[in-house]
C-alpha cells in the first residue's frame, strides 16, 4: 500500500491541452473517486497514474517514488478496465495467475493466492471456465480477482461497473466497497455516476474540463459545494438554480428573481445590494409552506415513486423540482406554495459561479 501524489499534472494530445494542472494527494489506504462528465479528463488522469499515457507536465508519485518515467509493470499497480479486458483464451484461473506467472512466482504460491482471491470473490466454482462462459457480474469479479492476487500498492478502477445492468451495479458497488474495507489498499476509482461516487468514496475529486473543481468527502461536497458545477453535479435529482439579484431593504436580505419573486436566504449572506447571483436549492430542501411567506409555484408534472414524490413546478420563472417525503396528489396547473429551507440554500455569484 502506498500514497499517491499528483502535482500540477498536465496532459496534451498534440497542441490540445486536456488536463490543465491537477493537484491531488491521496493518502495511504484511501478510496478516492474521480468523478465528472465524459471528456473531463478523469480517465486520462487514471491512465497517467497507470502509466498507459505519458505525462506532459508535472509529477506523479506512488509512495516515495516519482513514476513519471516508470513503465506500467514496475509501478506495482493493478487496474480494472471498463470492459474487464479478460484474456479470452485463458481460463479464470489462468487469467488471475497471469501476472504472477510473468513475475515468475512459485507455482504453490500462485495457486494459494489465486485460491484465496477466488474465495474472497466467490469464484471458486468457476476457476476452470473461460470468460465467455461467465455472466457479466462474474466477469467483473474475475477482473477484480486478477487485481487482488497481485497485492499491489494501488488499485485503479476505470468505470468498472458501467457495463453492468442497474441492479447488478448496485450490488457490485457494495461488494467493491466491502472489499476495500477488507483489503484497505489505496484505490482510485473513475466514474461518471455521482451516486457511485457518493456511496463508495472516502474522498471525491470532481473534475470538469481538465481541472479539479473540488475535492472533499461526499457529504462535504453535498453540503458545501464550492461552485455551481459541483452543486449541480452532486446530488440526485440535481439542484435547482434560479437567477436573481440580492435585495436588501429594511435590514432584511432576499434574492429577487427576474420576475420579482422574493426568495428567502440566510441573513448572514455576504453580498452587495443588487449583486447578480444564482439561487440554488436542492429538491429535498423544498417544503410545502404552511401559511404565509411561501413562494407560489405552478405544478406541471407529479412523479410518485412510492418512497417519495417528485413535483416539477414553475417557480420564479424557472423549472424547479421539489421532493416530498409525503404523498401528494397535486393536479397539473394547480398553484401551490413552497418554502425553501433557508439554512440549506446556496447562493452563487452569477459571473464566477463561486458559492458566496
Amino acid at each position: 500500500m502506498a500514497s499517491v501524489g499528483i502535482h500540477d499534472v498536465r496532459k496534451s494530445f498534440g497542441s490540445v491541452e486536456v488536463i490543465h494542472g491537477v493537484d491531488i494527494s491521496i493518502s495511504d489506504g484511501e478510496f478516492v473517486v474521480l468523478v465528472g462528465p465524459s471528456g473531463c479528463g478523469k480517465s486520462t488522469l487514471l491512465r497517467m497514474i497507470a502509466g498507459l499515457e505519458q505525462i506532459t507536465g508535472g509529477e506523479i508519485s506512488i509512495g516515495e517514488r516519482v513514476v513519471n518515467l516508470v513503465p506500467p509493470k514496475e509501478r506495482d499497480i493493478a487496474m480494472v478496465f471498463q470492459n474487464y479486458a479478460l484474456y479470452p483464451h485463458m481460463t479464470v484461473q489462468d487469467n488471475m495467475a497471469f501476472s504472477l506467472k510473468l513475475a515468475k512466482a512459485e507455482s504453490a504460491e500462485i495457486e494459494r493466492r489465486v485460491k484465496e482471491a477466488a474465495e474472497i470473490l466467490g469464484l471458486g466454482a468457476y476457476l476452470e471456465r473461460y470468460p465467455r462462459q461467465l455472466s457479466g457480474g462474474q466477469r467483473q469479479r474475475v477482473a477484480m480477482g486478477r487485481a487482488i492476487v497481485r497485492d499491489p500498492q494501488v488499485f485503479l478502477f476505470d468505470e468498472p461497473l458501467s457495463n453492468l445492468d442497474a441492479k447488478l451495479r448496485v450490488q457490485m458497488r457494495t461488494e467493491i466497497k466491502a472489499l476495500h474495507q477488507r483489503l484497505t489498499t489505496t484505490s482510485v476509482y473513475v466514474t461518471h455516476d455521482q451516486i457511485e461516487a457518493m456511496t463508495m468514496a472516502d474522498r471525491i475529486v470532481v473534475m470538469h474540463d481538465g481541472i479539479v473543481e473540488q475535492i472533499g468527502s461526499p457529504l462535504e461536497l453535498y453540503d458545501h459545494p464550492a461552485n455551481m458545477f459541483v452543486a449541480g453535479f452532486i446530488g440526485s435529482p440535481a439542484m435547482n438554480f434560479i437567477e436573481g439579484r440580492v435585495a436588501r431593504d429594511a435590514g432584511e436580505t432576499r434574492i429577487v428573481s427576474a420576475d420579482g419573486v422574493r426568495l428567502p436566504v440566510p441573513q448572514t449572506l455576504q453580498a452587495a445590494d443588487g449583486h447578480k447571483v444564482v439561487y440554488g436549492v436542492r429538491p429535498e430542501h423544498i417544503e410545502l409552506a404552511n401559511g404565509a411567506g411561501g413562494v407560489p409555484a405552478e405544478v406541471s408534472v407529479i412523479e410518485p415513486t412510492g418512497a417519495y414524490t417528485l413535483a416539477f413546478v414553475k417557480m420564479a420563472d424557472a423549472e424547479v423540482c421539489a421532493m416530498f417525503d409525503e404523498r401528494h396528489a397535486f393536479r397539473p396547473g394547480e398553484t401551490i406554495s413552497l418554502a425553501p429551507r433557508t439554512d440549506l440554500v446556496h447562493v452563487f455569484d452569477a459571473e464566477t459561479g463561486r458559492r458566496l
Binding site: R75, M79, F81, A85, Y87, H89
Partner: protein, 313 residues
C-alpha cells in the same frame, strides 16, 4: 373407392402443406429467413445454385482424373469412346509421371519452398503488422500504405530486377532463389491481412497485460498470437497457396530439372515441342492440386471466420 381417392388427396395436400407455409405462427424464430423453409423454394434458392457451383468447381477435377486414367488411344478417339468416361482405365500416365520424370522431386521442391517461404513471411508479417497497428510509431500509416503499394506491383515487372539480384547473390537455380523472392509478395499480403485481424482485438487486453508485467514481446506471444490463430491460419493458407502455384519466378530463377517446382516442371517437361503428354500433364496437375485442397478442407472454418472478421470476446 371414393374414400381412397379422398384419402390420397388429403395425404397429397398434407404433403403439399408441409412443404409450403402452413401456419406462419408456428414457424421457428428468425422469420426473415422463412422463405428458406418451404421445400420447393429451398430447391430453387439453395440447392440448384449449390449444384451449379459444385459442378463448376468439381468438373476440372473430374476432367483431370479421367484424362489421367485414359490411354492415349482412348484420349484421342472421340468417335468410339465417350469423352466423359473411361472405358479402359490405365495407370501408365501416372507411372510415366513418377518414374520417367523428376515429378517426386518437383513435389518435394514445391513443398519445401512453399513451407519455408510461408513460415518466413508469417514471422515477418506478424512483426510488421503488430508494429504498424499497435506501436503507432510516427509514419506507421505511411509504412502500411507503402507495403500495400509494394503488393500492387505485378511480378511480371519485378522478375527482371529480381533475377539480377538472385544471380548476383549466387542463388540462381537453388531453392533459396524462390524461398527468398516469394516473401516479396507474401509479406505485404500477410501483413495487410494480419493488420486487419489485430485491429479487431481489443486494445485494453494489451494495456492490461502491460500492467500485469508483460513485455511487448510477451504480449505478442502470449496474448495477441493465441487470439489471432484464425487470422494466422488464413494468412498461412493464402501464402502457401500463392507459393504453391507461383509460376513466373519459378520459371525464371530455376533451370535444372531437379530444382523445378510442380507448376513449372509439369509445363516444361511434359510438353515436348508441340507434343502434349495430356495424360501425364493432368496427372501432375491433379497430384499438385490435391495437397492444397486437403489443406483448405481442414482449416475451412478458421478461414471463413477470419475472412468475415469474427471478433470474439
Amino acid at each position: 373407392m371414393a374414400i381412397d381417392e379422398e384419402e390420397r388427396l388429403t395425404r397429397a395436400s398434407a404433403r403439399f402443406w408441409k412443404w409450403g407455409r402452413q401456419n406462419p405462427k408456428s414457424e421457428p424464430e428468425g422469420a426473415s429467413t422463412d422463405y428458406l423453409i418451404s421445400m420447393p423454394r429451398k430447391v430453387v434458392t439453395v440447392y440448384i445454385p449449390l449444384l451449379i457451383f459444385l459442378f463448376v468447381l468439381l468438373f476440372p477435377f473430374y476432367w483431370m482424373t479421367i484424362t489421367t486414367l485414359k490411354s492415349n488411344e482412348e484420349l484421342y478417339d472421340y468417335e468410339n469412346y465417350s469423352p466423359f468416361w473411361v472405358a479402359k482405365p490405365t495407370l501408365d500416365n501416372i507411372y510415366k509421371l513418377f518414374f520417367e520424370t523428376s515429378y517426386p522431386l518437383w513435389l518435394w521442391n514445391t513443398m519445401l519452398v512453399s513451407v519455408v517461404a510461408t513460415f518466413l513471411s508469417l514471422v515477418c508479417a506478424v512483426c510488421a503488422a503488430y508494429a504498424i497497428e499497435r506501436l503507432r510509431f510516427k509514419g506507421a500509416r505511411l509504412t502500411g500504405m507503402a507495403i500495400f503499394l509494394a503488393y500492387l506491383v505485378p511480378p511480371s515487372i519485378l522478375f527482371i530486377p529480381l533475377a539480377l539480384i538472385v544471380f548476383n547473390y549466387g542463388l540462381f537455380d537453388t531453392p533459396f532463389a524462390l524461398i527468398l523472392t516469394y516473401p516479396t509478395f507474401l509479406i505485404p499480403f500477410c501483413t495487410w491481412l494480419l493488420m486487419g485481424y489485430f485491429r479487431s482485438i481489443p486494445y485494453e487486453l494489451e494495456e492490461c497485460a502491460l500492467i500485469d508485467g508483460a513485455s511487448r514481446f510477451q504480449i505478442l506471444v502470449k496474448i495477441l498470437l493465441p487470439l489471432s490463430i484464425p487470422g494466422l491460419i488464413s494468412a498461412g493458407i493464402f501464402a502457401f497457396t500463392l507459393s504453391w502455384n507461383e509460376f513466373i519466378y519459378a520459371l525464371t530463377f530455376i533451370s535444372s530439372s531437379e530444382n523445378k517446382t510442380v507448376p513449372v516442371g509439369v509445363i516444361t517437361e511434359l510438353v515436348e515441342g508441340d507434343v502434349y503428354h495430356w495424360g501425364s500433364l493432368m496427372a501432375g496437375a491433379l497430384m499438385g492440386s490435391l495437397p492444397v485442397a486437403i489443406l483448405y478442407s481442414f482449416f475451412v472454418e478458421h478461414y471463413v471466420s477470419s475472412m468475415t472478421g469474427a471478433v470474439k470476446e
